[in-house]
Symmetry: C2
Subunit: 137 residues, 2 copies
């Protein structure tokens, strides 16, 4: 079992108390969170710190950004073996119109999309909206 410290070190990220806390927070969540979500969870921490921590995680491919159409950027931990840097291996996200939560459906890969001649596809963002399993139950 790899510790969080080892994981961060392997990604060239310095270990700080704040970063460990934020990582743990993300790991506990199964859903994508906004900056404000993190901010509310750590009232003592400054918003800027959270913002830059997330940016750092993002650059090092520890979290990925999700644009679920709510207008607010959300973030979620990349899975083990998630290759967010490899743009052809993106999973899709599900946004629940009822509880407003956004979930990574990591098992569901995005199908190959055909684009017209002359267009080069580098990246795909796919968000399915509807009712999640908890709300439809």
């Amino acid at each position: 079992m790899e510790t969080i410290e080892q994981l961060l070190e392997s990604k060239d990220i310095r270990i700080t108390a704040m970063r460990l806390l934020i990582y743990k927070f993300l790991a506990e969540k199964e859903i994508a969170v906004t900056l404000s979500d993190i901010e509310n969870a750590f009232e003592k921490a400054d918003r800027t710190t959270l913002y830059r921590t997330i940016k750092t995680f993002e650059e090092k491919d520890i979290v990925h950004q999700i644009d679920d159409g709510t207008g607010i950027t959300k973030y979620a931990l990349c899975e083990q073996g998630c290759s967010c840097d490899i743009k052809t291996d993106l999973h899709l996200h599900f946004h629940c119109n009822n509880c407003n939560e956004t979930i990574c459906l990591t098992d569901h890969k995005i199908p190959q999309i055909k684009v017209p001649d002359g267009f080069v596809s580098e990246n795909v963002n796919l968000v399915v909206k509807g009712i999640c399993d908890k709300c439809s139950g």
Copy 2:
């Protein structure tokens, strides 16, 4: 050939000079535009008017909203026969990372997406990012 006036009337939208201008502007563009784009095109008009005009058009299914991941909402005219209100008939959008333009690929329908048990899909947003035909030439 249906005039713009006739089109607006058929959708229960009152005809005003401003609305005709905005419609023409959108019709001339082949790409999705932001509110600021429209604002810059009509410097005399107030932003609120543009904002509410677009909202009206959207409610009446004359334009559809696009979230291309830039964080700024864009809008584009619905095609003849575009059934934006029917959520299963959505086309995809292409966002060029080079020129930053977003294009409706109306001929390219979104493939059927499978979601896990318990999830109900109501709506799909799919944005392909890459290089458009003009920039890749």
